[in-house]
Amino acid sequence: MRDDFSETTHFKMDKAQPRLLDNTGQGIVGAPLDRPDGPLKVSGTAPYAADVLPTGCLHGVLVRATISRGKVTAVDKGSLAGVEGVVDVITDPRMIRNPAQGMAGEAPVQTGDEVHYHGQPIALVVAESFETARDAAHRLKVTYEAEDGVAVTPDTAEQEVGDPDTAGDFNAAYDGAAVKVDLDYFSPSHVAAPMEPHAAVAEWTGNQLVLRSALQMVRFNKLEVADSLGISPDAVRILAPYVGGGFGSKLGIGPEAIAACIAAQKLGRPVRVVMSRQTVFDSVLRRSETAQRVRLGATKDGRIVALSHDDRVSNIQGEGFAEPVSQASQFLYGADGLSFQQTVARPAMTPSGSVRAPGEAVGMIAFEAAVDELAEKLGMDPLELRLKNIPDTHPMDGRPYSARRLADCLNDGAERFGWADRKMRREGDWLIGMGMASAARTNMLIESAARVRLTGTGAIVETDMTDIGTGTYAILGQIAAEMLGLSVEQVEVRLGDSDLPGASGSGGSFGASSAGSAVFMAAKTLREELAKRLGCEADDLTLSGGIARGGNVEKSLADLVDSEMVAEATIEGGKTAKESFSAGFGAHFAEVAVNEWTGEVRVRRMLGVMAMGRILNEKTARSQALGGMVWGLGSALHEEMMNDTRDGHVVTRDLANYHVASHLDVPRDMKVVFLEERDDEANPIQSKGIGELGISGAGAAILNAIAHATGKRVRTIPALPDRVIEAMES
């Protein structure tokens, strides 16, 4: 088919955009439609990375280092003599130490024969069968030269103390404050633990590589593969049409993928490498543990005048990422003096990186618990204290907020949850309490491209954007259908192929808005061309049911489109992000029951009220928000990665020892309410991120409910029974 129209546009978000999606009139964007990929997922036919096994495929199993730091002196292939079916043992200087950080677009650290942490992948055993590869990986004899006196805990490692970010004079304001709190909090390392372990199938045809892998950011991953292998990005094609969860852990290319690529090229056969669950724990980026200190000073009537949130996190040498713990504390409430200081420890431990809502996920648990403690000291309702301290402009730089309905969310949530009747009560051995917290998460627009192809009977959306469970297939189809007057059934969405226009990828809750805006801009170009062909102004064009109307003329799409109209659009952030500050806001409420003898905490119900710009699909948005709230519950009550303090190795390296929330932990009464909002400064579809706002603050609401129930504070999470009992007995 020959295109009868083809245009490429580039758009920069330099000023607030009109709300075209409020005038297209189809009611498709926002509607709670089923996911188009649903039937494939529920029937087990959606192809995830490890599901496609090419003919002649070999199986690789990664071997991990068992020292904390040092050198591999020998990998004894002879130790596998007699193990039938072993094809090769791959060690290669191009292998990577850990997954790339999000949006790196270049190779992560390549260590050669060096070991930087216990659990680092150091070799790949390749065999004809998975069973043989697994057996051989256990048998493989590796000798090391281990370094002595390696610091493997954050406390004992080198500390890099950063300069504080400040506004006003914190010390003066704090000294002069009538009521103060100065509190320490601790959170352990967390892992993303998506249900699909990291997986890759690499296949070469000559010098062309096709890599099927579980990845969130295909545009960046392609560059990371090319840079790791030392080849041109043009030689790399990545396919990731279905990804079994990411939560940050699949932002960057992983060790299993690079090892698979190297092995497949060397051996001339396709190679599949799937990380064992234990390897996922050992070598995929964790969320750093945190030690946090929150100091708040207020006037007697509850105006916060001094606000400080300092933290100590950890990451291995050579990684630029540091969990941005105080991110939300810097813009949620105002004060005369603010100060935020971060220290990064450098232990030989599994490197850290982005895990769902880096910063807010753990930072807000401490910060919003501290705000509650201040309210207690003031003798004020925690809700009232929060409402009283909502600032007019960004406290650190004076930027105006874009859309921000924090107060509405707090009030609406309080009303729905029955906050006014909040009273600690007892039911037998159970102490019942209610808690709340604000929710906040920064919002971003990341460069993203998409192509929309329109024929007389339907449209195809093409982008390398991924759907990691977030609902991308659904929402991109809805945006295109809404804009082009089609039904969602008439729109096909093609994702996760690096040959397609490069999107933001899924991360930082910016995927839907960024990739969605690119689809919107491409469809807008098509609308303008259709208006021209119809002979009306673009503003007067109505598209619905495959019919175009405007200026008293009416034509079917089939009459307007000869063969195929193609528009590709790229969008990137611009001046609006500098001139205003965009974030999602909300309020979390929780009711818990605490057993006074065992310290067990059961969450009875939760409510999240959120304003996050335009909702693109009410059903998938709700799922994202709910999932985030359950993560909040998990971090407040269950999740704790433990490392051996002698060698740093991960002790809780499977799902029996690292406790993600299960059915029994999660009450049926989990409500999500979206308040109507449009964020005109955020992007042309006026939407904001969702998946991470759900977690940000949710855990704090639970901790605050525990405090309400017991009258005592747990400041080390998770609030396991022993910690709750210890607090109750203090």
């Binding site: 089923d34 996911r35 990929d37 649903g38 039937p39 494939l40 997922k41 529920v42 029937s43 087990g44 036919t45 959606a46 192809p47 995830y48 490890a50 599901d51 496609v52 096994l53 069968s129 998975f130 069973e131 043989t132 057996d135 993303a192 633990a193 249900m195 699909e196 372990p197 279905y242 079994g244 969860g245 990411g246 799937v274 064992s276 669950r277 990691i468 469970g469 609902g471 059903k619 998938t620 709700r622 799922s623 709910l626 999932g627 709230m629 359950v630 993560w631 998990g634 499977d654 799902l655 029996a656 993600v660 929330a661 299960s662 059915h663 029994l664 999660v666 049926r668 009464d669 989990m670």
Partner: protein, 172 residues
């Protein structure tokens, strides 16, 4: 070595490594990749299948130990254009997100409804003779299936919807 299995109603003789799990045999030997591997240690439930009608974690089953037995996988429950009531309900209620644990959740839920029909009580049943499908009952019986996207409340809504439909059907 060889093992005879009846998979989704079809008699098969599979050639496999003696160490192969039923999960790997299904996925790699028979190409039934709908059954997922999440942990390979019986901790997540993504690999749930029915073995002679009872749900099991197929990663904990050695293929060689199940000669002559009957296996039902997600592919035997329904296909994209012919979904079972539970599969439809998961789509309607959005009882999933990434979809990776979903086949296991649906296999478990399929078995759960059968267990209820047989009147099998659980640790949380109030009435051991005639257990009722309360939300606690569902949560207890589904807790072997982890969902990191955390669609739990919606998964249980989907199961409850199908249970209600079945009850109405039985009463009609």
């Amino acid at each position: 070595m060889q093992t005879k299995l009846t998979v989704n109603g079809e008699a098969q003789t599979v050639e496999h490594d003696p160490r192969a799990t039923l999960l790997d045999t299904l996925r790699d030997g028979l190409g039934l990749s709908g059954t997922k591997k999440g942990c390979d240690h019986g901790q997540c439930g993504a690999c749930t299948v029915l073995l002679d009608g009872e749900r099991v974690n197929s990663c904990l089953c050695l293929t060689a130990m199940h000669d002559g037995q009957e296996v039902t996988t997600i592919e035997g429950i329904g296909s994209p254009d012919k979904l079972s009531a539970l599969q439809k309900a998961f789509v309607e209620k959005d009882g999933y997100q990434c979809g990776y644990c979903t086949p296991g959740q649906i296999m478990s839920a399929t078995a759960l409804l059968q267990e209820m029909q047989k009147g099998q009580a659980s640790y949380v049943s109030d009435d051991l003779e005639v257990p009722k499908l309360t939300d606690d009952e569902m949560a207890e019986r589904m807790s072997g299936n982890l969902c990191r996207c955390s669609a739990y409340p919606l998964i249980r809504e989907a199961i409850a919807m199908v249970a209600d439909q079945e009850n109405e059907g039985a009463q009609a």
